[in-house]
């Protein structure tokens, strides 16, 4: 019953366009669940899900937890600090111990690229990647896709530019795969110090000046600049970064069209993005957060073997 997506969701690189569309379409009926006074459907009743977070996360962990609870799953949160992990337990031992407790799914966030795949290959439970190192963050890209589709009514043919620290960004990698598979044109913009080698070979347009990216794009997805990057010497100062690459109101006003503004959060106001832009009329940043819950409900539902055509029925279960 897991044929629709396979056992695990590790990344978008290995999903087909049909599978990505299936997740987005399955998310549609789940959006409405969160608008009800009683935000719960019985789709995953009796399923046990562990949220295994080896890295600090607020938004993603809470979003997953809401998605699980609104599907009636039983959930346990494990954070790295204070757990066996901090006492030197290896990832494989943690995984085996969880498996021994007969869980159904693991949602994992880990600082090492490949950790989700590693876990998925070693346990029978479904594994959902909630961000592995600099590799992928598939549910973030899926909620970005859903938000773009809501706003523009389509994805194919749109020009979407990822701005900032692509080098260290799993959000950027998942977005590049997801957007290109659904027919969007993808751009990346930032200093060369924050661009991974061979990025053009993934079929993206490369911009070294934010003005050119703004002129080209329909949508800007502004990545978070982690402040420790400056200490590591990738950029000389936050001040200069904002002056050269900041997405400011003045720059957007010179654009030929109104650009949709996205950000995966948490934002550094006045570093990568101008507050007036983040809070402005073309910002869909909070819609992204709302869609995050629906997309994650869809992913969990499909991995658990739920049939897409029954998502509507599952939703009606409590009516």
């Amino acid at each position: 019953m897991t044929a629709a997506l396979g056992k695990d969701l590790v990344g978008l690189e290995r999903l087909s366009p049909e599978q990505i569309r299936l997740i987005l379409d399955t998310a549609e009926p789940f959006k409405e669940v969160s608008e009800r006074p009683i935000k719960k459907v019985p789709a995953l009743r009796g399923k046990t899900i562990v949220n295994l977070f080896f890295e600090a996360s607020t938004r993603t962990r809470i979003s997953f937890e809401f998605a699980e609870k609104r599907l009636s799953a039983d959930t346990v949160n494990v954070a790295a600090s204070g757990s066996a992990v901090q006492k030197g337990e290896t990832l494989v031992d943690t995984a085996r111990n969880l498996e021994a407790m007969r869980i159904d799914m693991v949602v994992i966030r880990h600082p090492s690229s490949g950790a989700a795949e590693f876990l998925g290959n070693r346990i029978r439970s479904n594994v959902v990647n909630a961000g592995d190192g600099k590799h992928e963050h598939p549910t973030q890209a899926l909620l970005d896709l859903l938000t773009i589709r809501d706003k523009h009514g389509k994805i194919a043919g749109l020009k979407v530019c990822l701005v900032g620290d692509v080098l260290h960004s799993r959000v950027a990698r998942s977005n590049i795969w997801g957007l290109s598979k659904l027919g969007a044109e993808v751009g990346v913009c930032g200093p060369d110090t924050l661009m991974p080698r061979g990025i053009e070979d993934l079929g993206v347009c490369r911009f070294r000046r934010i003005e050119e990216a703004i002129e080209w794009a329909d949508v800007l997805n502004v990545l978070r600049l982690q402040l420790e990057r400056m200490e590591m010497g990738f950029i000389p100062s936050v001040r200069e970064y904002y002056r050269v690459f900041g997405v400011t109101l003045e720059r957007l006003e010179r654009a030929p069209r109104a650009l949709t503004i996205m950000h995966p959060g948490p934002m550094n106001r006045g570093v990568e993005i101008d507050s007036r832009v983040a809070d402005g009329p073309h910002s869909v940043i909070l819609d992204q957060v709302t869609n995050g819950v629906a997309v994650r409900m869809a992913v969990l539902y499909l991995l658990a073997g739920g049939r897409p055509e029954l998502a509507d029925a599952a939703k009606r279960g409590t009516e």
Partner: protein, 433 residues
């Protein structure tokens, strides 16, 4: 008294003398007594029929990690020498990054004694360049050479200080030993776990650019030129390095180089499933690098093949890619991989491969062996170049199992390995098809 041994009817390939013809090899008193067609067996001699097989100088590996002292759970000098014998090696050189570091005459003497006790493949110690491999102060080359060291190296770590490298090259001249360097600019390679390129970008793993190696290759060449010392470049992995070494050799600079079987055959695509058995330093590079390394090996720009045998516990490699240690084992697969991928694919002739694995490495470190010259110690390998076998980690003789070649079908292996005339390895007879 050892019985004389007559290896009868094989194809004898001795690259040290350009010899390649059917002949018999007589071994007496631990030495090569004669190499000639139609030799009669002396009284009491054991006669072995080696028709259809190749008799060659025992293979020599300039670069292995045997983990003793310090990490005997993973490998010991005895188990490493056993694995080496099975791989057709009659001599290996053990890197000094043990615990404690092999940086003094007592530590060197320990390895010599453990090797003698094992009485298998000869294990020659390599001493550390710097005390504790800390890259600060020269260790006592003279005393280490007196105790049996054949070269010095801080392998596992690069020699960061150009001044230290210069001093090492100068000081080593007195003892006529090579200084072997692991070429890596640590500031460029910092945090890297694989080759920097499209694959590392896709996987989100931090890359090590080719320039991290090439900068140090060129620095070492310049210092060899400055000092007249002999620099040996370990596990060269990039096409740029091959070009730098080619130019240096044309200028007569004393530089030698080695390449591993895995850098000759695998690319960074092997990392795609986050398989930690594809994690080594230097990392697996690209197809164009493999092509240049193969050409360099053929031309003699790269002198020899070395395994960089690096055992690790099975559970150390059972980890996320970032967290796993670098390195793979290679003694038991080196000849099979090289023969299958290079000789059977027409890159090298069999005599060329044997040269790169026996006479050339022996000459590079000025070791005895690497020859079937009458009078030389009888370090000999009989190679079966037709049997197909599958690499099964569970039956390897090394204590460790960390090989990227698991499940790989290979053609060619050592049928018999002799060290000083004594049989140290004998393959089971091949199963008939």
């Amino acid at each position: 008294m050892m019985r004389p041994l007559l290896l009868k009817g094989g194809r004898v390939i001795d690259p040290s003398r350009g010899f390649d013809q059917p002949a018999d090899v007589l071994i007496q008193d631990g030495k090569i007594a004669a190499v000639k067609a139609g030799l009669g067996a002396p009284d009491g001699a054991e006669v072995r029929d080696v028709r259809g097989q190749v008799v060659a100088p025992g293979l020599v590996d300039l670069h292995v990690h045997l983990r003793e002292p310090g990490n005997e759970d993973v490998e010991t000098i005895a188990t490493g020498a056993r694995a080496a014998a099975a791989g057709g090696f009659s001599a290996v050189c053990a890197m000094p990054n043990t615990d404690p570091v092999t940086d003094n005459q007592a530590a060197v003497g320990f390895i010599v004694r453990q090797s003698a006790r094992a009485a298998l493949t000869r294990v020659y110690p390599i001493g550390a360049i710097s005390v504790g491999q800390r890259g600060e102060r020269l260790s006592e080359f003279g005393e280490m050479v007196g105790a049996g060291a054949v070269a010095v190296s801080d392998d596992g770590r690069p020699v960061v200080s150009s001044h230290l490298m210069r001093t090492a090259l100068e000081y080593a001249r007195t003892f006529e030993i090579p200084v072997a360097d692991h070429c890596e600019d640590p500031t460029l390679a910092a945090g890297g776990v694989m080759h920097e390129g499209l694959v590392s970008t896709r996987l989100g793993l931090k890359g090590i650019p080719a320039a991290a190696e090439e900068i140090m290759v060129e620095r070492d060449i310049l210092l060899a030129q400055l000092t007249g010392g002999h620099v040996h470049l370990c596990h060269v992995s990039t096409r740029g390095s091959v070009e730098l070494i080619r130019r240096a050799k044309e200028q007569g600079i004393r530089v030698t180089a080695e390449v591993t079987p895995h850098h000759l055959t695998l690319t960074d695509h092997a990392c795609e499933t986050y398989d930690t058995h594809a994690k080594m330093n230097p990392p697996l590079r690209e197809a164009a690098d493999i092509a240049a390394l193969r050409q360099g090996l053929k031309d003699g720009v790269i002198d020899c093949i070395a395994s960089d045998h690096a055992p690790h516990a099975y559970d150390a490699k059972e980890a996320a890619f970032d967290d796993a240690p670098f390195g793979i084992i290679g003694l038991e697969t080196a000849f099979g991989v090289a023969h299958t991928e290079l000789v059977l694919n027409g890159v090298l002739t069999l005599p060329e491969l044997i040269a790169r694995m026996s006479s050339a490495p022996a000459a590079t470190f000025r070791l005895p062996g690497g020859t079937l010259q009458p009078g030389a110690p009888a370090d000999v390998v009989v190679l079966d170049t037709t049997t197909r076998w599958t690499v099964q980690p569970a039956v390897l003789l090394s204590k460790s199992r960390n090989t990227p070649f698991a499940g790989r079908a290979l053609t060619g292996r050592a049928a018999l390995t002799l060290v000083g005339g004594a049989i140290v390895h004998q393959a089971e007879a091949p199963q008939g098809p």
